[in-house]
């Protein structure tokens, strides 16, 4: 009527909500897209950027995909505002995997942040960088983590520890040893906060490398209380595994009690002692362990499940139980005499007071497994206290208490009232409490518990009442003394319920009644003779009970106990006739029971009643034969056949000539089937699957992925020397030296830097013109080799006195002389350095070694780029295509690499029309994800393969060469090409060789050094490997006179040719050690320079050598490159082809 009024009211209400939500981000969440986000992201103002990011976050929160903003968001990673940074990180991590290319753009920014003075910025950068889960960045992250692990700030170190699992995720195997090294270092950290995070990393990366802990086990135990709660949970678990792995289970603990009591062998004495201890603990608590025979079995089962995992154990429990015992006893320890175990228990016991319930449970688990039996009770109160903390942890704790209570009921017996049920408990909690209550009930507490149960029976929740009734049944079975009381109660309940059910047929009520009868049945089963009256009562109530399940059970009871006592047999005819009469109106399950009861009664009947029973049975069988249910019909038919003998004897008049034997057999079978009295079984412990306390698997009752039982005792080698800190540290290094050498550049960087700088600073001056004359290009191979070695004049810049003194020997030698110098001359020249030859090579780092610079002339013809097969004649219909990377530079674009391909016709026919095409266009999308930033920076589109001049024909045996210019999308990934030949297409993959993504960058040593000094820190990476190529060459050397000299040269040559064959580089200089004895080449240093084709970023490689000529050499390759991704990958490549 008044639309304008309505509008006002609406806007008013809007306005009023605005007032309340003023200044919050509500409007952003409610309507994130009401303004255009893109311009805001590009804004100059932080506040606008922030708003845009918040809008994006709101969209993420609501489940929208906003990854299309990625490039714009990533740009903002460089923002100075911390909040913008944080928001960008949140966004970035959400989408990094989806948009790997753009994510890579942010890496350099993170690298910058990693050296920020603010620890918070460093930590965030590390977290975000590690969170970008891209394989290509993993090497950089590894370096960053290594650095941050040494950061002065505790928070950054903690984040470094947290980053380790992320890294491990990326690189499963490659770097595990490097990661373990860092984990180890962080575990040794003096700050508890870091240790906690390191424990989590340990658990993720190398949970089974328990020997890492042996060195600082004690210290870890002692810091345990100071570590933050989450770390405690993890560390407790790790330490427990360690202790078990090293020493085995404690012989005083409950886990091993059953082995000891069973033992009669060598540990007889100990066995007796523990047997007594068990009895004592039982007696002291005044507990009647009914069914006590089961307990040791259960405990054995429990401890076996803990150590072997239930699945393994249960599958072979039958065959190994005996030998297993022996084995386990051999690896027992003592929680009293063993220091480590004692300290561990001591340090975990205060954690039982933690306010974090997970810590309490973890500590309880330790005591449960390792503590002496008499001390286990200290876990009880803390566990019960946790029940009060929150309903959710209550559930988990109860699940665990249930297991403890099953194995050791005496532990919880005095605390029955803690398991009384509150109306606010959830159904799961209620049923757990019931189970625990019925396990821990004792003679003394049962009366209180029953009173409690009586209260529950009146609860409106009928499902709960049914459970109560079941619990009563269980208690009565366990504690016989109260069985009669229980029965009475249950029977009155049955009477009452049958009345109620009469009037209102509620589902719940039926359940209660059925459950009540079930409990009664279970109690009767234990001692049928004394419960005759109960059975009679039940039979009498048959008329009033209408619930089919309950009726069926009573009818079963009739059949089962048909010959019990005096009265029941006399009632039988009446009962049976009553049942036969109402057969047709019964429910299915009741019909089944009536059938089998009739059969049972008939089989065991004697005398004159037999006839009646037979009549009833055949009447029932006849009815059943026409029953609508096929199951009933089938049963009737089977019974009829089976009982043919009995039925037959009813009337021999009918004259069926049945074979007597056959009849006997049938009778026996029938009697066997129906006559076998069921044995009374305790159905309490139907769950035999136990998992470690506090584990997820224990709650869900199956082994969750990643669940591991306790380790095998003795799987950690006990090594006393490890306890000594100093030797252990050294030992740890040496055992890991291989891995640390190759995989952890950081641990070595210190010493290596020192060494390499000492080499560089020995201040030799400009390389000679002769050196630059050699351009390093492979095209100059035809130039005659003038000399093997040429000395450039060395070090005339006497800026530092000691250097000049060291270099004095070489200054006199000029280029030309060097060129003419014979091998012998070199040798004598080397020998002329008496002062230095005495220096032991190990002191290299301390005493600056001198070196001579040489240039290798003939290296060009030693350079043989490797040839790869592209197409096999077998697959190519006789066409063989090989390729090698040429050092030529593509004339088309810097993106292209020249590949020299050779085509050979191996067939007998002429091949025609051979050419290459790009197969990539079709699969562009798949490759797109792998493109690097190189391709991103190219705005113009370049073809993958520059069309090659077609080879029109190739006669058999002919070989043709072509230069192919290929653009690789990624320096690690192959490019897909198609070769067309005689109109057939062959798909091939051209694998890139990283080394040829560069072109030689001629420079002199000075330029090299200054460039190098501009690329420190994150742009510098070092790796090492061993080099063995030269040994072979040395062995081939025949001429004994040249032996001395050539060793050095051979090493230089083989190294240089190796490098130049695999990478298009410029050999800047070769520094040869002079201060060495004849065999030691330590200090040999080769420098290479190159420039990345695509972006002209220089790339400097320095190779230093350590070791003796005749042995495998240790090579350190150092890479300085601004393009970190390329640099690292290139370095890996260098290492790969050198080693």
């Amino acid at each position: 009527m008044f639309p304008q009024f309505g509008a006002t009211a609406e806007s008013l209400s809007k306005a009023s909500t605005m007032v309340f939500r003023i200044g919050t981000d509500a409007h952003l969440y409610d309507d994130p897209e009401d303004v255009s986000i893109a311009p805001l992201l590009d804004s100059r103002f932080d506040s606008e950027k922030r708003e845009a990011l918040k809008r994006l976050l709101a969209l993420i929160a609501q489940g929208f995909d906003v990854s299309n903003f990625f490039p714009q968001v990533v740009k903002n990673v460089a923002s100075q505002s911390l909040e913008v940074k944080k928001l960008v990180y949140l966004y970035l991590l959400h989408y990094a995997e989806k948009r790997p290319n753009e994510a890579l753009l942010s890496i350099n920014c993170f690298q910058k942040d990693l050296s920020d003075p603010n620890p918070l910025v460093r930590a965030w950068a590390l977290r975000a960088m590690a969170g970008i889960r891209l394989h290509v960045v993993a090497p950089i992250v590894l370096v960053a983590v290594g650095k941050c692990a040494r950061d002065p700030s505790v928070y950054v170190r903690k984040c470094a520890a947290n980053a380790l699992p992320k890294l491990h995720d990326l690189h499963q195997e490659e770097n595990t040893s490097a990661l373990e090294e860092i984990v180890n270092m962080l575990l040794n950290d003096h700050s508890p906060g870091v240790v906690g995070a390191a424990a989590a990393a340990f658990n993720y990366i190398c949970p089974n490398n328990l020997s890492l802990l042996s060195r600082n086990f004690k210290r870890l135990c002692e810091t345990l209380p100071d570590i933050e709660e989450w770390g405690q949970i993890i560390l407790i678990g790790i330490l427990l595994r360690y202790v078990v792995a090293k020493y085995g289970l404690a012989k005083e603990s409950i886990m091993t009690s059953s082995y000891c009591t069973q033992s009669s062998g060598p540990e007889k004495h100990g066995g007796d002692f523990h047997d007594e201890a068990l009895k004592d603990s039982g007696d002291i608590q005044g507990i009647n362990i009914e069914g006590g025979a089961d307990l040791p079995k259960l405990i054995t089962l429990l401890s076996r499940c803990y150590t072997e995992g239930p699945d393994e154990y249960l599958s072979h429990s039958t065959c190994t139980s005996v030998s297993g015992n022996e084995l386990d006893r051999a690896s027992l320890t003592s929680s009293k005499d063993n220091d480590d175990v004692r300290i561990f228990l001591q340090c975990t016991s205060p954690l039982l007071w933690s306010h974090n319930s997970a810590v309490v449970l973890a500590a309880s688990g330790v005591h449960w497994i390792m503590a002496p039996k008499e001390d286990i009770k200290r876990i009880v109160k803390p566990l019960l206290f946790v029940l009060r903390s929150s309903p959710d942890s209550k559930y988990v704790v109860l699940c665990n208490i249930q297991v403890f209570a099953k194995a050791m009921p005496s532990l919880f017996a005095p605390y029955a009232e803690d398991f009384f049920i509150n109306s606010s408990d959830s159904y799961q909690i209620k049923s757990l409490k019931f189970e625990i209550l019925s396990t821990i009930a004792t003679d003394s507490s049962i009366s209180v518990i029953f009173q409690e149960f009586q209260d529950y029976i009146k609860d409106p929740d009928r499902r709960f009442v049914a459970d109560t009734v079941a619990a009563i049944g269980l208690c009565a079975q366990r504690i016989r003394t109260v069985a009669n009381n229980c029965l009475e109660g249950l029977l009155s309940l049955v009477r009452q319920e049958s009345l109620v059910c009469d009037s209102t047929l509620l589902d719940g009520e039926a359940g209660v009644l059925a459950q009540a009868i079930m409990s009664v049945k279970a109690i009767i089963k234990q001692d049928p003779e004394n419960h005759e009256k109960v059975i009679i009562q039940l039979i009498r109530s048959l008329d009033s009970i209408k619930v089919p399940a309950a009726r069926a059970m009573i009818i079963w009871i009739v059949g089962e106990y048909n010959s019990l006592g005096q009265i029941i047999p006399r009632m039988l005819p009446t009962v049976l006739m009553y049942l036969a009469r109402c057969f047709t109106s019964e429910a299915l399950e009741t019909k089944h029971q009536i059938l089998s009861t009739a059969v049972k009664v008939m089989l065991f009947a004697q005398g004159e009643e037999l006839l009646t029973f037979r009549e009833v049975l055949s009447y029932v069988l006849d009815l059943a034969k026409y029953d609508p249910d096929y199951d009933v019909r089938d049963r009737a038919r089977i019974f009829k056949k089976l009982l043919a003998g009995h039925m037959a004897s009813q009337g021999p008049m009918e004259g069926i000539p049945s074979q007597p034997q056959n009849t006997d057999l049938r009778t026996a079978l029938a009697e066997h089937i129906f006559g076998g009295k069921t044995k009374s079984t305790l159905s309490t412990s139907n769950n035999y699957r136990f998992y470690l306390p506090g584990s997820l698997s224990q709650i869900v009752l199956h082994a969750a992925p990643g669940y591991e039982p306790l380790p095998k005792p003795g799987s950690v080698v006990y090594d006393d020397s490890c306890r000594d800190m100093d030797t252990a540290l050294a030992g740890g290094r040496t055992t890991n030296s291989d891995s640390s050498g190759t995989n952890d550049p950081d641990t070595l960087s210190g010493s290596l830097n020192e060494e390499s700088t000492s080499n560089y600073s020995s201040g030799h001056s400009v390389a000679s013109s002769a050196e630059s004359e050699y351009s390093g290009s492979a095209s100059e191979v035809d130039e005659p080799a003038s000399s093997l070695i040429q000395f450039s004049e060395v070090g005339i810049s006497y800026s530092k006195p000691n250097e000049s003194a060291e270099g004095n020997g070489s200054t006199s030698i000029s280029d030309e002389l060097g060129g003419l110098m014979s091998k012998r001359a070199l040798e004598s020249w080397l020998d002329e350095q008496p002062g230095f030859s005495e220096c032991p090579p190990s002191k290299q780092g301390v005493v600056l070694p001198s070196s001579a610079r040489i240039s290798i002339r003939d290296i060009g013809n030693r350079v043989k780029p490797k040839t790869y097969a592209l197409l096999d004649p077998a697959n190519g219909n006789g066409l063989r295509v090989d390729y090698l990377f040429s050092s030529e530079i593509s004339s088309i674009s810097p993106m292209h690499i020249c590949v020299e391909t050779s085509f050979k016709n191996c067939s007998t026919e002429i091949l025609t029309k051979i050419c290459f095409t790009d197969e990539n266009q079709s699969s562009e999308s798949s490759n797109q994800a792998l493109e690097t930033d190189e391709s991103l920076s190219t705005s113009y589109d370049v073809p993958t393969v520059v069309p090659m001049e077609e080879i029109t024909s190739l006669v058999p045996g002919q070989t043709t060469r072509r230069i192919l210019q290929v653009r690789f999308h990624h320096h690690l990934l192959p490019v897909k090409l198609a070769i067309w030949c005689s109109d057939k297409k062959y798909s091939v993959k051209l694998r890139p060789e990283m080394g040829f993504f560069m072109k030689p960058l001629p420079m002199d040593v000075e330029a090299f050094k200054s460039k190098e000094s501009q690329l420190p820190g994150m742009f510098e990476y070092i790796r090492s490997c061993t080099f063995t190529d030269h040994i072979e060459e040395l062995n081939c050397e025949k001429d004994p006179s040249s032996l001395m000299k050539d060793k050095f040269l051979v090493v230089c040559q083989s190294l240089a040719s190796r490098m130049l064959s695999h990478a298009n580089l410029f050999l800047v200089s070769v520094d040869m050690p002079v201060a060495v004895n004849h065999d030691d080449v330590s200090g040999l240093c080769l420098r290479f320079s190159g420039e990345i084709l695509s972006n002209s970023i220089p790339c400097l490689i320095t190779i230093t050598v350590e070791g003796r000529c005749s042995e495998p050499l240790k090579i350190f390759a150092k890479m300085n490159c601004e393009e970190t991704m390329f640099g690292l990958n290139m370095l890996n490549r260098v290492i790969a082809f050198l080693s």
């Binding site: 109160k381 509150n422 606010s424």
Partner: protein
């Protein structure tokens, strides 16, 4: 919303996912939430799902706080309590930051929630969960901030510096705190859990208590708190700042407090002999109706007034209608058959009583199931367990601080069966 090891956190309410945070590389699809809701619907409205659920693809941990479900999932073995505890911690921190927990509050402050979560968990492992430190890293939303942000448009709620506490040897406390007035308040807050059986006997009566400290002290003070009668304590749990040794040997709480409000200790005292009040329900049914009377009164005068007294109960399902009146306070019957009788303060002169008739379902002669009555009350100024604080010593403080003590007892799970 979060997990340790390999998790995804979701906060969901009423089948709508409000927030999602992926913690590790293994992305978890949102459809897991749909599965969860389907599951909880199929179980019926009043049946709660267990806190740990094995779904076909993941293991789920869930807690419900104020109607908001916090859901975390993992695919690998991890301590389930760790997940649950962490979720509870998230809920606690959020409710502290936002001053409560509800859908609107979370939506209004979703950026802060995201920032908080990012600080609280890293790659599925909890990072910073100490509330006091989080407060320094990310400013809680308060009115001043809000107004400022409206006016200037550029305040940031992310701190630019790392809290000093992360580096100190007491990670829960900033190194150089300065307060104009040095004060410390110690509150004993106790909850009585009691069960009174159908025949009026006291089945169990425990006290669950907390020692809450609100400290605003400068520098690095060292506090010692001792009880006059520590022997009554049945069990205790402590804030991480409490040193274990002194407690083990002398039952003395020695600690360097965090700044602000925190829970120093929780304790339990079992088997109290009597309760402060009595609640006597009587139900007698005949011929399809049931006569109900509930009497409430003081049993043992605690010496202080008993306040905010409430009696709740759920009418049995077989009751079709009810007519209840009381001589004091008000009676409300909600649609889901929940009755609440709010009495407020117990009058001095008369004993409050409520009476009325319940009409049973047709065909039902008498009531055979009986409700449980839940009682709420509050008593200011007294700790019913009898635990007494002996003294609080403060070392390392230049001037004498103001020390305040308070006590409060309230009903916890206080149930009377009928």
């Amino acid at each position: 919303m979060g997990e340790a090891d390999q998790e995804t956190l979701y906060a969901t309410i009423c089948r709508e996912v409000m927030l999602e945070k992926q913690l590790t590389g293994h992305k978890v699809d949102r459809s897991i939430c749909a599965w969860f809701w389907e599951q909880s619907i199929s179980q019926g409205e009043f049946v709660k799902l267990p806190p740990v659920i094995a779904s076909p693809t993941h293991y789920l941990f869930q807690i419900v706080r104020e109607g908001i479900t916090f859901l975390a999932c993992t695919q690998v073995e991890m301590p389930p309590l760790m997940g649950i505890e962490f979720l509870s911690r998230v809920a606690d921190v959020l409710s502290d930051y936002l001053g409560g927990l509800n859908e609107d509050l979370i939506k209004d402050n979703f950026v802060i929630v995201y920032e908080l979560l990012d600080e609280m968990i890293d790659n599925g492992f909890p990072l910073t969960t100490e509330l006091n430190i989080l407060r320094e890293m990310i400013a809680p939303p308060n009115f001043v901030n809000k107004v400022l942000s409206v006016v200037t448009g550029n305040t940031s709620n992310v701190s630019n510096t790392l809290p000093g506490a992360t580096a100190s040897c007491v990670p829960w406390r900033t190194a150089d705190l300065k307060h104009a007035s040095n004060e410390v308040y110690v509150d004993l807050v106790e909850e009585i859990d009691a069960i009174i059986s159908r025949d009026g006997a006291l089945v169990k009566c425990d006290v669950y208590g907390e020692v809450q400290v609100n400290s605003s002290l400068s520098g690095l003070p060292d506090l010692t708190l001792s009880f006059a009668n520590p022997s009554v304590l049945n069990d205790a749990r402590f804030h991480p700042c409490v040193r274990f040794r002194p407690w083990e040997s002398h039952q003395i709480l020695s600690f360097v407090p965090p700044d602000g409000q925190f829970k120093l200790m929780t304790y339990r005292i079992k088997k109290l002999k009597n309760t402060p009040i009595y609640v006597k329900p009587q139900l007698s049914s005949d011929a399809g109706t049931c006569r109900i009377t509930v009497l409430v009164g003081i049993r043992n005068d605690p010496g202080k007034t008993i306040d905010s007294l409430m009696v709740h109960f759920q009418l049995p399902p077989c009751v079709t209608s009810a007519d209840l009146t009381s001589n004091h306070g008000t009676v409300n019957i909600l649609a889901n058959k929940t009755c609440s009788w709010s009495i407020g303060r117990i009058p001095k002169d008369k004993a409050p009583s409520m009476s009325g008739t319940l009409v049973l379902e047709a065909g039902l002669e008498r009531l055979h199931t009986f409700p449980t009555f839940k009682v709420d009350f509050k008593i200011m100024g007294v700790a019913l367990s009898g635990l007494q604080i002996d003294k609080l010593d403060i070392k390392n403080l230049p001037n004498r601080p103001y020390k305040g003590f308070r006590a409060l007892t309230q009903a916890g799970e206080y149930e009377v069966r009928s």
